[in-house]
């Protein structure tokens, strides 16, 4: 069974997914979104190459033995639609986040902020923060709450 996969396709998949993961690790939601789109496209390519390569799978056009495998293509169509939906939703979320707070960065979670607060109040050892002490990072000790103009709640 020849799948049509070759070194170029694997490198393409690797580059797409690799760049996607790098972007996914960013704090800004719009970069995360780009990362997810890249990973999604890489995965779709991977699925396509999982099936047999050949002519269009239409009876009367191609000999059955020379047909490509239609199933991965059908699956990829579904996957594209799903990725599209998620992309739209993430766009909406990052827009909403920008609307409410002035940026689309994913902030620290509750626990992280508590630990930072305690470290600032010298209640825990700064060694617990892993390397960099609380005093050395003013952004962490004094969370940048009000330096951006906050917009009114709700779309009006």
């Amino acid at each position: 069974m020849s799948t049509g996969a070759n070194l170029v396709s694997f490198v393409a998949i690797g580059v797409l997914v690799g760049c996607g993961v790098t972007l996914l690790l960013e704090r800004s939601l719009s970069r995360v979104l780009l990362g997810i789109i890249l990973i999604g496209n890489g995965v779709n390519l991977l699925i396509i190459f999982g099936g047999r390569a050949g002519g269009a799978p239409i009876i009367g056009v191609t000999e059955p033995a020379a047909m490509s495998d239609a199933l991965p293509q059908a699956m990829v169509l579904t996957a594209i639609v799903i990725t599209f939906g998620f992309t739209a939703f993430l766009l909406a979320i990052s827009y909403r986040s920008w609307y409410l707070t002035g940026d689309d960065e994913v902030p620290d979670d509750v626990e992280d902020r508590q630990i930072v607060r305690r470290a600032a109040a010298k209640q825990v050892s700064t060694a617990d923060l892993g390397g960099e002490g609380a005093d050395e990072d003013p952004e962490q000790v004094f969370p940048p709450l009000d330096h951006r103009s906050r917009r009114d709640e709700g779309p009006g």
């Binding site: 990973i39 099936g51 699956m75 909403r96 709640e153």
Partner: protein, 500 residues
């Protein structure tokens, strides 16, 4: 009777379409969605009776025969999960109607709660009934897409913040699942579960093991198994109470269900058994230690949720029939009881305006009914006899002892310790929120709507009733587990002519 099989997916989907058309007309919307879920519950019960008496039901969608077309398969496990999930979703729907969560308001101009909730239910039931890997993926995506909308309901700043973590983590898990699906297809040329069960055995060991690990990774994120669980306690608590309740009860269990299904049907060998047991032990201990450190009821309960996922994974990891029986029983117990606890917490929040244990107090006197509901559910979760939590844990620990060996014994010890710590956490919540004298500044607010209390009472009673029907329930779970281990009934029902 096979005509019943697609109904648990179709009914909620049709209901979702109808309720979307009826948006901004509250009464018809409520009637349609309650009617849909009630009908789903009836169908699920019929399916359970049918599968228990006569074996599996298989439907080839569009009359395309099995390995080519899409199949829906209702076996005992799927039917059991359907019954529990539709009962729980119905209760939570009534609760949210009572709370007015589903109504339009300033911040939610379009009444999308009902349609989204029904799509979520359809996704869950589709995942339970899916007979091929890609349909399982589609079920997951349906429930995920709906859960994204529900967790960011009203789009407040807090919900957007926690929702974005939830969305990114779950989209990543979906991508990993999709990669696994692609690799499974490339390696075996099929995605039908029964067909895969026959074909995967022929693959080289290394390929099979890597496929298994990829799938476990994807399902592990969904099920919140320890190293992959950090997203859960941070994102669940901010959603509206009924949403948190149904997420906590059902969504992680869909992941556990997928692990049970693939581990028994596709990978019956025991290569991953030890790995599963190690992560199960870590999930239990790390989860419950996290719960000990919390001071907010919702966050605390989210950590106990993570911790108790470990019990189910332990049962799966044992790879014995007794372990599976325990795991399935525990899934059923935990769905009802975890949802009930979150609903009670929602009532506490409704009553006092807070779930912070540092500010609550004196609730047992202020709202005795609430006290009873919380006490019964919390003791049930901690596994005090004669509640079903005790029976589930006993079954799992017995299975561990019967399996013998250092690792199962270590897991038995970890399980016992986790139960004790759960009891500690539960009594701490009880002492702080209910038993001690009221704190200053907690003013009792509005009285509780009868429908909310009624739905919660029903669910707590359901949790207690699991003890009463424990005997028959153990028979059903044993039956399900035996069939899962044997595999042949499933393969023969889906592929009557043998695998091509």
């Amino acid at each position: 009777m096979t005509a019943l099989v697609p109904l648990p997916v179709l009914l909620p989907l049709l209901g979702a379409a109808l309720t979307l058309l009826l948006a901004n007309r509250p009464l018809p919307q409520r009637v349609v969605s309650v009617g849909c879920l009630a009908a789903t519950l009836v169908v699920a019960v019929l399916l359970l009776v049918q599968t228990y008496r006569h074996g599996l039901l298989v439907v080839d969608i569009g009359a395309w025969p099995a390995p080519v077309g899409i199949v829906l398969v209702a076996d005992q496990l799927a039917a059991l999960m359907l019954v529990v999930s539709s009962a729980v979703t119905l209760c939570v729907l009534l609760y949210s109607i009572g709370q007015g969560q589903a109504e339009t308001s300033e911040t939610a101009p379009l009444a999308i709660f009902h349609p989204t909730y029904l799509v979520l239910t359809a996704g869950v039931t589709n995942a339970f009934l899916a007979g091929d890997l890609f349909n399982l993926f589609v079920g997951f995506e349906m429930l995920l897409a709906a859960s994204f909308v529900l967790i960011t309901l009203n789009g407040t700043e807090l919900r957007i913040r926690t929702g974005s973590t939830y969305v990114v983590v779950n989209v990543l898990a979906s991508m990993i699942f999709l990669i696994s699906v692609g690799l499974v297809y490339a390696a075996s040329g099929t995605l039908n579960l029964a067909h895969l069960a026959a074909r995967l055995d022929a693959l080289p060991d290394g390929v099979r093991l890597s496929l298994q690990l990829m799938l476990l990774l994807a399902f592990g994120i969904k099920a919140a198994v320890f190293p992959l669980s950090a997203w859960l306690p941070d994102s669940y608590p901010t959603a509206p109470a009924p949403v948190t309740a149904v997420f906590a009860g059902l969504l992680t269990k869909v992941g556990v269900y997928a692990i049970i299904r693939t581990q028994t049907l596709l990978f019956p060998g025991q290569e991953a058994g030890e790995l599963l047991m190690v992560v199960a032990g870590l999930t239990m201990l790390v989860g419950i230690l996290g719960a000990v450190a919390q001071s907010d009821m919702k966050r605390l309960l989210s950590f106990t949720l993570v911790s108790h996922i470990g019990f189910m994974i332990f049962g799966v990891g044992l790879s014995t029939v007794a372990g599976l029986v325990g795991a399935i029983f525990y899934v059923i117990h935990h769905i009802t009881i975890q949802t009930a606890l979150f609903l009670v917490t929602g009532l506490v929040e409704q009553r006092t305006g807070s779930t912070d244990l540092r500010r609550l107090g004196g609730l047992a006197r202020m709202a005795p009914v609430l006290g009873v509901l919380f006490f019964v559910s919390a003791m049930n979760l901690a596994g005090i006899p004669p509640f079903s939590g005790f029976l589930g844990k006993l079954g799992l620990l017995q299975a561990g002892v019967a399996a013998g060996g250092p690792l199962p014994w270590a897991l038995v010890a970890a399980g016992t310790l986790t139960s004790l710590l759960t009891l500690y956490v539960a009594s701490r919540m009880w002492n702080l929120a209910f038993w001690r004298a009221p704190c200053q500044g907690v003013a009792p607010t509005a009285p509780l709507p009868a429908l909310m209390v009624g739905a919660t009472v029903t669910l707590v009673a359901l949790g207690v009733a699991l003890t009463v029907v424990a005997g028959p329930l153990f028979n059903v779970t044993t039956d399900a587990a035996v069939n899962l281990r044997e595999r042949t009934p499933y393969i023969q029902a889906v592929l009557p002519g043998g695998p091509p």
